[in-house]
């Protein structure tokens, strides 16, 4: 009998999977927003706050503002455990929309997934959004019409890091002969900035050292012993996950002062410094997504979402945490892009092609930032068909032992210097894939 039950279970599982709706196209007044998420596994600590921020903002739009110009967002989550393979499956499941509500964009929520989907997105005409991540050369929208490494691509991250170091040293001419060590997570993400740093090292004459930390990076003595031997002036820390607090602690053990370590975006959240305890005091990090709950949008959310019990946050103390704010910012970028698209196509749910047009014409200036309550939290951003990044700046925040304190205004990356690198790579991609780059001005 038990065997029968088990068989029945198996049959039921097959049957339920069969019921997945490759949905019919009815007319719908809703915009479908599928989110591949990770609330389980090694990356869940960042994920849970991130999705809380995203969901809270979407709820705010739906319930307080009545949708994006009246179009409600129909949000659905899919667990992926940050596996690109499962994200691909989710993408295939959702790309045709749901119950007639179309998909205008797909957050990949991870660089590997962005890579895996880049051709499918182009073929299906679904914009893939991966702020502060993604495939760097897809910044060139003439070759990659449907990929958006929005806001702050990896080359810009390297550039802002070096610019800030120059600022601290008192000018770019002071960089000459300085030793800058990059300690990086030994993965595609970690290595992505190498070309940019190399170029900048040539330009400014600093000595460039690259030291890899193998995943997951819970033991790093050999690496930091090497760093100590080099006696660096600055350390650029490009780790992720558990390798960040371990790096900060190990650095302290080898006598490298925390205030001479600059962390990258993905090494600059509370989860990265709290486990390191006192060792992290003075540590600085790039913040395209600054931490803090004192921005205008937080007041609005506190009133309408947090205090009314509608927030996805389990623990209110994380309101305004870096990852929560990442979620907010990504959500507002999507909403503003929808508005841009609606301005052209009418106040209705958009499909992927219209969504792309929206993103390519996304402009948020200071005035708009103040209107939507993101001034100071989000940089001004302007995308064009040939520039899918559109921002390229970050503030610097410093950990004071309790919280992140913003120590600079927006520092702009030297995007002109790095653009040729991006174009060389995108041209190579275009050649390999027989893509004729579209003319950036042809369609408007």
């Amino acid at each position: 009998m038990k065997r029968l039950l088990l068989t029945a279970l198996l049959a039921a599982s097959v049957a339920t999977t069969a019921l997945v709706p490759p949905s019919a196209f009815a007319d719908s007044k809703e915009q479908y927003v599928p989110l591949p998420t990770y609330r389980v596994g090694p990356y869940a600590s960042s994920g849970t706050l991130w999705w809380a921020g995203t969901l809270d903002y979407f709820r705010y739009i739906n319930e307080v503002e009545g949708g994006v110009n009246g179009v409600k967002l129909k949000v659905e989550e899919f667990e992926t455990e940050w596996s690109p393979d499962r994200t691909v499956e989710v993408y295939e499941r959702v790309k045709n929309g749901k119950d007639g509500a179309p998909v205008a964009f797909f957050f990949t929520h991870g660089t590997p997934a962005s890579y895996a989907l880049i051709e499918k997105g182009a073929a299906d005409k679904i914009p893939l959004i991966d702020p502060a991540g993604g495939r760097t050369e897809s910044t060139d929208g003439t070759v990659f019409p449907y990929a958006f490494p929005l806001l702050f691509n990896y080359f810009s991250q390297a550039s802002v890091g070096i610019n800030y170091i120059a600022q601290k040293e008192g000018g770019f001419d002071k960089l000459k002969g300085k030793k800058i060590v990059t300690v990086y997570h030994d993965s595609a993400y970690g290595r992505e900035t190498q070309a940019a740093v190399e170029l900048l090292a040539k330009k400014y004459g600093f000595e460039n050292y690259q030291i890899p930390v193998a995943d997951p990076g819970n033991e790093q003595s050999p690496q930091w012993r090497q760093v100590r031997e080099i006696k660096p002036d600055w350390v650029f820390l490009r780790t992720w996950g558990v390798s960040t607090p371990v790096a900060i602690k190990t650095a302290q053990r080898f006598g490298i002062p925390a205030d001479h370590i600059i962390g990258d975006v993905w090494a600059g959240s509370e989860a990265d410094v709290i486990p390191a305890g006192a060792a992290a005091k003075g540590y600085q990090a790039l913040a395209p997504y600054p931490g803090g709950a004192s921005f205008e949008i937080h007041d609005r959310l506190r009133k309408t979402i947090l205090d009314t019990g509608k927030s996805d946050l389990k623990d209110k103390k994380f309101f305004g945490a870096v990852y929560y704010n990442i979620g907010l910012i990504n959500a507002v970028l999507a909403v503003e892009a929808l508005r841009a698209g609606q301005a052209k196509f009418g106040n209705k749910p958009l499909n992927g092609e219209e969504g792309r047009w929206g993103f390519e014409h996304l402009t948020i200036d200071d005035a708009r930032l103040k209107q939507i309550g993101f001034y100071g939290l989000l940089q001004p951003i302007k995308l064009t068909p040939s520039d899918h990044e559109g921002g390229g700046a970050a503030r610097i925040q410093q950990w004071d032992g309790e919280k992140w304190v913003l120590v600079t205004d927006w520092i702009q990356a030297d995007r002109d210097t790095l653009r040729p690198l991006i174009e060389a790579k995108s041209a190579a991609y275009a050649k390999e894939h027989n893509i004729t780059p579209r003319s950036p001005t042809a369609e408007n």
Binding site: P42, I211, P212, V213, P222, K249, G255, G277
Partner: protein
């Protein structure tokens, strides 16, 4: 030369952190022949429970006691629901069951206690001590002392208590042990509970270093080479294996790594382990199986 000494000493000390994790495997394998892959999740679960209780305001000792109680309860549940129904199945089936178990434990740990990263301050200063020019980590010294102390305590328990002696009897010859009236199920419960407590100690030390978070469960990947170098059945072997792996991996990363691109620590210990195994197929201190046709 200083760099060499420093790397060597640092590596030896760091290696004992791996030993701590490996001891948990050895205990269970010795008593029940189970290669318990869930040890990493149990370590995570234990540390997470402890720190959650601590953050709820319990004093250190109380949190420790409650965590240990939960671990003992967990061991009993695991024995009843997983081990007993699977008794006498092939070692591979049991191994797979522990993989399934690791999903359950991880799901429970993150589901109940959340996914957030917790800091754990054990009050150990992590500042460098200088011995001449050689830098030594104070934290590593404490960890090494703990590992050795733990191994000694376990050895004493095995040799001088009734439970320990029954446990060795079970390990030596299960049938003979059964025939003299040793309660096998009880022994398994005890061993799984002790392995859980060892996991708690390891989890606390690793957690103090890297924060208590999901990736604690990944330290098992560091402990496995230690385990096979030292042998699945020897606690002393786990300590020796840890020292060997720690020293070798630090020296290799420092002196060989730069020539081949670095980041070789994930696989280097495994190659080392294969080399050791090729000479001693059951590890340095493991027991060689007699094969009868």
């Amino acid at each position: 030369m200083n760099l060499f000494l420093e790397t060597l000493i640092g590596g030896l000390l760091a290696g004992t952190m791996y030993s701590l994790v490996a001891i948990g495997f050895v205990l269970i394998y010795k008593a029940s022949g189970v290669f318990n892959f869930a040890q990493g999740s149990i370590l995570l679960f234990a540390a997470l429970t402890f720190v959650t209780l601590l953050e709820k305001g319990l004093p250190f000792v109380a949190a420790l006691a409650v965590t240990i109680a939960i671990l003992i309860l967990g061991a009993i549940v695991i024995e009843r629901t997983v081990l007993r129904p699977l008794a006498n199945r092939s070692p591979m089936t049991l191994f797979m069951a522990t993989l399934g178990l690791s999903y359950v434990v991880e799901g429970a740990a993150q589901g109940i206690m959340g996914a957030q990263v917790h800091a754990l301050d054990l009050g150990i200063e992590d500042v460098p001590i200088f011995l001449g020019d050689v830098l030594i980590s104070q934290f590593d010294l404490v960890a090494a002392t703990t590992a050795v102390a733990l191994a000694l305590i376990l050895a004493l328990l095995f040799n001088n208590t009734r439970i320990g002696i029954s446990l060795r009897a079970v390990a030596d010859d299960t049938r003979a042990a059964l025939s003299v009236g040793i309660n096998l199920n009880r022994i398994w419960q005890i061993v799984w509970a002790v392995a859980g407590i060892v996991g708690l100690v390891a989890g606390m030390l690793w957690g103090a270093r890297q924060g208590i978070q999901f990736s604690l469960s990944l330290v098992v990947l560091k402990a496995l080479p230690v385990l096979i170098i030292g042998g699945f059945t020897s606690i002393g072997g786990a300590i020796a294996g840890g020292l060997i792996v720690g020293a070798a991996e630090n020296l290799a990363e420092t002196y060989v790594g730069p020539y081949i691109g670095g980041g070789i620590t994930p696989w280097f210990p495994y190659f080392l382990a294969i080399a050791f195994l090729y000479i001693r197929p059951a590890g340095l201190f493991g027991e060689r199986a007699l094969e009868r046709v």
